[in-house]
Symmetry: D2
Subunit: 344 residues, 4 copies
Amino acid sequence: MNFLSDNAYGVLPEILAAVTAAAEGTAASYGSDDLSHSVEARLAAVFDTPVAAFAVISGTAANALALATLCPPHGAIFCHAEAHIAVDECAAPEFFTHGAKLVGIDGADGKVTPEGLTRALSHFLKGFVHHPQPAILSLSQPTECGTLYKPDEIAALAAIAHTHGMKVHMDGARFGNAIASLGVSPADASWRSGVDVLSFGATKNGAMGAEAVIFFTPADASDFAYRRKKAGHLISKMRFVSAQLVAYLADDLWLRAAQTANARATKLADGLSKIASVEVVHPTEANEVFLRLPVTLALKLRDGGAQFYDWGPPENDHSVIRLVTSFATPAEDAERFVALAQSK
Amino acid sequence: MNFLSDNAYGVLPEILAAVTAAAEGTAASYGSDDLSHSVEARLAAVFDTPVAAFAVISGTAANALALATLCPPHGAIFCHAEAHIAVDECAAPEFFTHGAKLVGIDGADGKVTPEGLTRALSHFLKGFVHHPQPAILSLSQPTECGTLYKPDEIAALAAIAHTHGMKVHMDGARFGNAIASLGVSPADASWRSGVDVLSFGATKNGAMGAEAVIFFTPADASDFAYRRKKAGHLISKMRFVSAQLVAYLADDLWLRAAQTANARATKLADGLSKIASVEVVHPTEANEVFLRLPVTLALKLRDGGAQFYDWGPPENDHSVIRLVTSFATPAEDAERFVALAQSK
Amino acid sequence: MNFLSDNAYGVLPEILAAVTAAAEGTAASYGSDDLSHSVEARLAAVFDTPVAAFAVISGTAANALALATLCPPHGAIFCHAEAHIAVDECAAPEFFTHGAKLVGIDGADGKVTPEGLTRALSHFLKGFVHHPQPAILSLSQPTECGTLYKPDEIAALAAIAHTHGMKVHMDGARFGNAIASLGVSPADASWRSGVDVLSFGATKNGAMGAEAVIFFTPADASDFAYRRKKAGHLISKMRFVSAQLVAYLADDLWLRAAQTANARATKLADGLSKIASVEVVHPTEANEVFLRLPVTLALKLRDGGAQFYDWGPPENDHSVIRLVTSFATPAEDAERFVALAQSK
Amino acid sequence: MNFLSDNAYGVLPEILAAVTAAAEGTAASYGSDDLSHSVEARLAAVFDTPVAAFAVISGTAANALALATLCPPHGAIFCHAEAHIAVDECAAPEFFTHGAKLVGIDGADGKVTPEGLTRALSHFLKGFVHHPQPAILSLSQPTECGTLYKPDEIAALAAIAHTHGMKVHMDGARFGNAIASLGVSPADASWRSGVDVLSFGATKNGAMGAEAVIFFTPADASDFAYRRKKAGHLISKMRFVSAQLVAYLADDLWLRAAQTANARATKLADGLSKIASVEVVHPTEANEVFLRLPVTLALKLRDGGAQFYDWGPPENDHSVIRLVTSFATPAEDAERFVALAQSK
C-alpha cells in the first residue's frame, strides 16, 4: 500500500514499449530526430491550437525554465503560499530567473483567489524600482491540496493577471489528473482560460521521466531553447524522452491513466469520509487525499503496511497525512486501506 | 554509415533490460531507492577509493554542476580553448557558477600543456580582486580532438593546478573510451593522477541518458545535492537513471562497449591513413577520427551514404571532418567508408 | 517640513570637510590609500573587537553583499515580512546570493519574535534537498517600524539561529539611531548579542554616500572583497568614501547626529500622542514616527507644507503616515508639525 | 611623479564646489531631485540626440549594467582580448548578465579589427543552441593601450555587429580623453558611428565618483533602472553624483580637463621617443604612454621618485611600463620624468 507519491510507481507498459522501440537504429541527437520533431504537433492537436513545446526531464526544470523565459530578474511571481515552486524546489525559480521574487498568497484548499491576488498586487507599485515588478501568476493544477481550479476560476485570475501585464503559468505536474477529473478539454483548462505557459507533466502519471513546457503564444518561447541548453536540460538522446511523450498522448493513454489514479483516490475518500475519527481535509478532486486522523490511527495504518507522508507535525494528538494514488495503484490497496482504518 | 556522433546510436541491450526491470513495482523517489543507493558503492569499487557520486542526465549538467560546486563566482576555470565546456555548452558553466571566468588555453591536438597552463596562470594575480581567482583546471579526456592524456601528463598538469590552490576537473563524457584505450585503471587515470572531480559519461557509450559526477574527496561534494536539486536535475524516478549506471558498470560492460567503439575508429584511421589524399589530423587514440581531405572527396563520401560533421569551414578546397564511432557502429560501416574513400 | 526620509537631508559639515580635504594630492586607488586602510581599525575600536570591514556606497549593496557572503545559493534567509531586504530592494538579495530564498516572518511592530522564528524554521527540514537550507537570520535595527530590539532580544533570536547553524545579519541602515536610543555600547548591540555581520549605515545619518559591512569574525569575510569588486562596488577613488566614514566615527559625531534625529522624533511623538484624533501606531524608539490619522488631517498637514509618506492605502477614512527625522531636521519643523496637527 | 593611474588624482575644483553646493537643504532621494533630473537633458545636449541616461558610481557598474541590459544570459559579448571588461573586472559582466560569454579578440594596439571580429563571429552559429548567440560588440575608447578608434573605424565595426543583429557598447571610462584627442563631436564618436550604449566615465577625468550609462535608443533602456536598483547601484543621495556630472559637462570642463591630461602624455611621449633605449610601444593618442625600456632604467626612474605600473613581467632585461596622466598631473612631472630617463 504505497501512497507516498505517484512517483513511486513505475512506467506505463505503452511507454516502456515506446522507449524500447526508440532504441532501434540511429537518430539525430539533441532533439533533431523525427520523433522529437513530432511532439510539438501532437501537443498542438491535443490542445487544439498552435504551440511551441519543449521536452525536459523534471518538473522543476519545466517550471523554472518556463518562469525564467517569461519573468525578468526584476520580476515578481505570484503563487499560492504552499505552491511547489515556492516550497519544494530549493528555490529553483529564483536561480533560473536570476533573482526574481516569489510572492506567496494564502488561500483555502491550496487555491489562489481573486481577492488574495488583488491584495498581494497592491503591495507592488508599477514602475517603482524598489519593488520587483509583477510578471507572472503561477497556478498549480491540481493544487498542492489536490483540489482543482475550474476554467472560470482560472479565467477570473488570469484576467486580473493580464490586466496587470502579467503572464499566467500553470504548474501541471499532474495536469492529466486535473483534466480527467474536470471533464473539460485541455484547451478549456489552459489557454482558453488565459494560461500562457503550461508545465505539462507526464512523469507522475506513468512516464519514466518526461515533461513538456507548452507556450500557447509561440513567440513567447523565443529564447527557451537557449535557456534549456544553458541549464543542461537539452538531452542528447532526446528521442527517448520524446518517445515517452508520444506514447503518453496516443489514444488518450494519459487520460486513462489519470482516470485510474483519480478513481483510486475517490474510493479512498469515499470510504474514509464515513469513518468518524477521520476527517477529509480538502475536497478530493484529483489523485490526492488529505486526512486528519488520530496519531494512533496513523500508526496503526503504517503498522498494517501503508506508506504515506505526514503533512506537517502532529497537533493535539492528530496528524494530517497525504495519500497519493497513481495509474498503477491497485484497487485492492485502496480497499485494504479503508478497511484497515475502519477496523477496531 | 552514421559517424555524426556516438549520441546517434541507441542503447546497449543490457541497459535497456535494466531499465525494463526497474519499472517493476514501487520504489522510493528522488534517488532514495535501493538501486540508486548502490551506485556510489559500485563507482567506489570501479575507482578503488571512497567517492561521493551523483547521477545526472546530461553531460552539460555533470560538468556545470561539478564546476559550480568547486568554483566560487569569482573563480577562474582554465581549460583548452576548444573544450566542450568552453565552446559547446551555451556558457552553462558561467550560468551555474554565477559568473566564473573560463580561460581558454591553446595547445596542439586539443591538449593543455604545462607551459600553456603556466603562461595562462601568469595573467591572474593571487589576491588581486580585479582578477578572477584561479579555481579549477578542467581537462577533457579524451580531448575534443579524440586524443588522450596519459596519467603522467595528467599528474604534471594537476601538480601545477594544486600548487596554485586549484582543483582538477575531468570532463569524461567519453571516459570509457579513454580507459579502454589507455589500458590503465580508472583510478590511475583519475584521482591517482590528481583529478578531484570527474564527469563520468555513460550516455555516449550506450546508456539512454545517464552520467555520474564523482568526487574523489567526498567532503568536496557537500553542497552538490542542493545544487543538483536547484538546477532541476534531481530526477523523481531516479531508479531509471541509476539502473543504467549499474548495468553499465557490471561485468565491464562499459569497457567492452568502448573497446568496440575504439576498434572501429582504429580501423577507420588505419585504412584512411594509407590514402594519399587523406590526412589524419590528430592521433586517433579513442573513438574519434579527424581527417583533412579534398572537399570533392567529402562530397563523394556523403553521396555514398556516409554521415559526418565538417569541423570548421573548408580552406583551400579541403575540409576537416570528424568521424565518431560508437559501441554499435557496425564494423562493415568502417570498412565501407574506407573503401569508398579509396575508390576512384 | 521634510519628513519624507532622512535621505532627503544633505551632509554633516564635518563630513563635507573631510571629503574636501581628501581631494588634496594623489592617493592609491581602489582602497589602497592610507585613509581607507584606517577605516577597519577605527571600526574595531568603536566595536571593541577585531573586525573585517568594507566600505560600500549604498545600503542595498551593504545588505546584499553581506548576505551573499554568508548564504549559499541554496540557503534561506529569515527576516521580518516587512524588512527592507524583503520588500524594498527589488530582490537584490536574491540576485547577489544567486537565488537564495527570503522567508518573511510576521511580528508586531516590525520585530521578529523567537516564536515566529521557530515556527518559520519548522518548515525547513535540515538536509532535505527540496528545501532551501536555513542560513541567515536578518534583523533590522531599528526595524521598519522605527522600533528597537534590546540586546537580550537580539541574543535570544541569535541563539535560535546559531543553534540551527545560521549566521545573524543586522541591517543597521540606521544603526546610529539605535545606539543613540538604546544607550548601550555598539558591541553590546551587535556581536556581544550574537550578530555576525552588520550593515553599518552612515548615509541616512549625515554622510554623502557611505556604508560599512562589518564582519565580527573576520574569517567569514574571506571572499567579500571579490564579491564587492564583481558587483561593481569597489570604488576607484575610495578615499572619498573612507573619508566620510572616518569623520563620521570621529568624536562620536555619528552618535551626536543620531541623538538630534531621535530627539526630533521624540518631540513629534510626544506632541502628537496628545492629540485625540491621532494615534501613534508603533513605539517611537528611534527617528521614525508612525501615525494613524484622519485622511482630512493628513491633507491639512500637507497643505500646511509638511512632506511625508503614506504607509499603505487609506482605510476607513484614516491613513497611516510615516515621519522620519534626521540629524538636520530643524527643531522648529517638529514644533510646527505638532502645532499644525493640533490646530482646528 | 604619480603616473600610476588617473584615479590617483583628486577632484576638479568645479566638481568639488558643485558637491558642496548640493549639500544645502533637502532634496528628493534616489534620483528624483531636480539636479538628477537635469542630467539626461544635459547629456542629450552634449550628444546632440535624445538619450536615456543613468548615473552610477563605478566604471565596472556602468559597463556591467549596460551589457546586462542588452545581452541575454545566452548571449556572447565580443571585445578585445585585453579589454577591461574581459580582464580587470573580476568577471562582473558574467555576473550581471547571468552567464553570458565574453569572447576575446586579438588585435594590435588594443584595437579590434573588422577581420578579427568577422573571424570570431564565424565560430558562433546563429540559432545553434550549443553556442552563445552574438549579442554585443564592446569597444574601449580609448583602448587599454591608450589608442583610439577613429569614427570610421567604429562605423566599420558597428556595421558588422549590426548586420549580425548585435548591439554596440563603448567602454568610455576615458571618453573625454578620446574626444579631446580626436577633435570630433561626441555624437560623431558614438551614435553617429553606430554606438548603441556608452559607458561615459567622469571619475578618471576629475570627478569624485560618477559615471553615466547613455543609451542612444532610449527604448533599449527599458529595464535599466530595475537592474541598477537590484545591483545596489541606485544611490539614495543621488544628487551628489548628479552634481558631479552636471559640473563636469558645464563649460566643456570635461574636455578641458582631458586636454590637460592628453597634453601631459604627449609631452612624455615626445620626450621619451627621442631616447635610444626607450621604445614607445603603442601610439600615444590619449593620456596613456606605454614604454619598453631596460629594467635598470625602470629602476632608476622609480628611485628618482616616479610611480608607474609594470605592464606584464620583464622579458630579456626589458620591462613594458604604463604611464597615465590626468587633469591634475603637473607639467613639471612630465618634464622631470623625461629628464630623468635621459640622464646617464
